[in-house]
């Protein structure tokens, strides 16, 4: 009885404080269905409701997002806290603390520099960033805001979520290994992630933005660290594979340049990023330690008169292999197009093709605004390629999707 009374009191206090604070509520209701084209099986039947709460004061703001969902295919309800952070707007500095998503870099597709938040890849077609607890400061040294310095400290490591269910890859365990143990970095001060980024806008050609950053953190996915006997009394096995997260220090730079080629094309935009990740095994001599890699990308953007906006992207990634194997090179081409036919109908399409293995993804999409805030979406995802290729592993998951969203 006392507990019920206390709960009622807490609820009343919460409602009263919300009423006094007059927070701004927003939300999105989404329901979507998917049909796998190979076997006409239902691949998606999911309903989600994202509720956003925001409270603004002159020099401070608080944002929180709650997700309620239900996956009818797996009969699993979903409740999660999305971003939830407070921001202080001080003279020349914005300070925020809490669960936040921070985007760094310039490329929308295959950005080597956008590494602060891990990804939820459990369903690769719906991949999104996972908010993580951080302290985030943005410094604006000049009044015009042409220069910015950002610093982020993420005290606790959060791993990425790998593809799950029909998207998961089954990898056989090494001989003698019967179990797997995943070891996350301990919650200690030294195991945090630290990032620093500086940007500047320069008056060159039709405008140039420059950026540079360093992120000292972890790879988002685990890698083998060795094996141990399942029973210490039986050193000859069976064994347990230990997966752990290796350190990396990523250094990179980016730019966005607006320019024209007189008489050929007016108003082009070239964006680029390059990054190098240092690890504890620069020579690839330790098979239980991740090796360094470098990645870079260029994207050329152009809006055709009365036509679509197109982005042609190229990405190159190099990864040091464990010696004596040859290093791995991956080249990816991307083409994105978006065309707003009128105030209601938007057509867009994406094509990703891995030059190195011949696999790819084609994803056309149609959006139609039925009313203010109400949008219907129809899309198709087609994967192609060989059995062990980057996108070919999902070729049986090509699917048609239809959904509707209501935002308020």
């Amino acid at each position: 009885m006392t507990m019920k009374r206390n709960l009622l009191f807490v609820l009343l206090a919460l409602m009263a404080s919300l009423a006094l604070a007059q927070p701004e509520l927003s939300g999105t209701f989404r329901t979507a269905f998917g049909l796998r084209t190979q076997d006409l099986a239902l691949s998606l039947d999911r309903t989600r409701f994202d509720l956003g709460i925001r409270y603004d004061q002159n020099d401070a703001a608080f944002t929180a997002e709650l997700r309620f969902g239900y996956d009818a295919l797996t009969h699993s309800p979903e409740f999660s806290l999305g971003e939830a952070y407070a921001t202080l707007f001080l003279p020349g500095v914005d300070l925020s603390a809490g669960r936040e998503i921070v985007s760094w870099g310039r490329l929308d597709l295959l950005s080597p520099l956008d590494v602060l938040n891990p990804r939820d890849l459990s369903s690769p077609l719906d991949q999104e960033k996972i908010p993580v607890s951080m302290l985030h400061a943005t410094i604006y040294p000049d009044v015009e805001g042409r220069y910015q310095v950002e610093a982020v400290w993420i005290p606790l490591f959060t791993p990425a979520k790998p593809p799950a269910g029909e998207w998961a890859q089954t990898r056989p365990l090494p001989p003698g290994v019967t179990q797997v143990r995943v070891q996350e970095p301990a919650a200690e001060l030294v195991n945090g992630t630290f990032g620093l980024r500086a940007t500047a806008s320069v008056e060159l050609l039709e405008g140039l933005d420059l950026g540079g950053e360093i992120v000292h953190g972890y790879f988002p996915f685990p890698s083998p660290q060795g094996v141990e006997p399942v029973d210490p009394a039986q050193p000859r096995g069976p064994f347990r594979l230990i997966l752990g997260y290796d350190r990396r220090t990523l250094v990179g730079a980016d730019f966005a340049l607006a320019f024209s080629i007189p008489g050929v094309a007016e108003g082009l935009m070239l964006r680029g990023e390059a990054a190098y990740a240092f690890t504890a095994d620069p020579g690839g001599t330790n098979p239980n330690e991740k090796n360094p890699y470098a990645a870079g990308g260029l994207a050329l953007e152009y809006a055709w008169t009365d036509g679509p906006t197109t982005i042609l992207a190229y990405n190159l990634r190099w990864e040091k292999a464990d010696s004596p194997a040859a290093d791995r090179w991956t080249q990816t081409l991307g083409l994105l197009a978006r065309y707003e036919r009128d105030e209601r109908l938007t057509l867009q399409g994406a094509w990703l093709h891995t030059l190195s293995d011949g696999s790819g993804l084609v994803r056309p999409q149609v959006e139609y605004a039925f009313a203010d805030g109400v949008t219907g979406i129809l899309s198709y995802a087609f994967f192609y390629g060989g059995d062990v290729t980057r996108f070919g592993i999902w070729r049986n998951n090509s699917q048609l999707r239809a959904g509707i969203e209501y935002s308020f």
Partner: protein, 254 residues
């Protein structure tokens, strides 16, 4: 014969007194315009069959002798809320940036995108940044004719971009009443074919009549029958607006 001579004399005298296209546009440009403005605009996107989508935007603008700045933030509907568009004109150069809350990134917009639709409306990014007035020195202006509307003489002026000027349109024809020198109608042509028509109405005096500002703007795309109506509400003129408003920091702050 004497009558005919008198008529010819009067016609030639009135032609001599009439303003040239350049002079009309100089008068349009010389019309006092506020140093700063802020207010709310309700944007209605009207389809061919009359179905309406409504968007609400908040606008800040400021001009000095050397630069013009404008910031637009979307307030409604919820799926575009928080989107911000910044334009800064300085020294003959124009800089445009867009903040999309879903991406959490401020993006520089290239010149080719300036000609594209502004958030699904019949206004292009360029149209929006030209709402405070075109750069008249970038165009050749020719008086086509004068018309009489409700007893007021209206100048019809054709403006064509000078060679080397990157304009969204091949020409513009403006209807400029002689009593206000605030254009009431502007036709936009692409490859000399009529493309869009802007109608300025509800011209209201502000600051004790110092400024005349149209508060209802309609852009109609004659090629597809769509139109967008912009209604300016709670407009504040010559208010002090901090330069910090026209920055990436303010774009990201809701």
């Amino acid at each position: 014969m004497r009558k005919l001579f008198t008529v010819l004399l009067l016609v030639s005298a009135s032609l001599a007194l009439a303003l040239s296209g350049e002079e009309v546009m100089q008068k349009v440009d010389a019309h006092p315009s506020p140093a700063s403005m802020q207010g709310t605009m309700v944007m209605q996107l009207i389809g061919k069959q009359g179905k309406v989508l409504t968007r609400e935007i908040r606008v800040w603008s400021k001009r000095t002798a050397t630069e013009e700045k404008m910031l637009i933030k979307f307030v409604a509907p919820a799926d575009v809320k928080g989107t911000a568009f910044l334009t800064i004109r300085k020294g003959g150069k124009e800089e445009m940036k867009l903040y999309l809350p879903a991406l959490k990134r401020v993006r520089r917009i290239a010149g080719s995108q300036k000609k594209g639709s502004f958030m699904g409306s019949d206004f292009s990014y360029d149209d929006i940044s030209n709402l405070s007035g075109m750069e008249i020195e970038d165009y050749n202006h020719k008086l086509l004719r004068t018309e009489n509307k409700d007893g007021v003489e209206v100048y019809v002026v054709e403006s064509t971009p000078k060679p080397g000027v990157d304009s969204s349109y091949s020409k513009q024809i403006a209807w400029v009443p002689a009593d206000t020198f605030v254009p009431t109608r502007i036709e936009f042509y692409k490859k000399d074919k009529l493309y869009k028509v802007l109608t300025n109405s509800a011209v209201k005096p502000f600051a004790d009549g110092k400024y005349l500002i149209p508060t209802l703007l309609q852009m109609e795309n004659v090629t597809n029958g769509h139109k967008t109506v912009l209604e300016q509400k709670d407009l504040q003129i010559d208010v002090a607006i901090d330069d910090a408003v026209f920055t990436e920091r303010f774009m990201k702050k809701r």
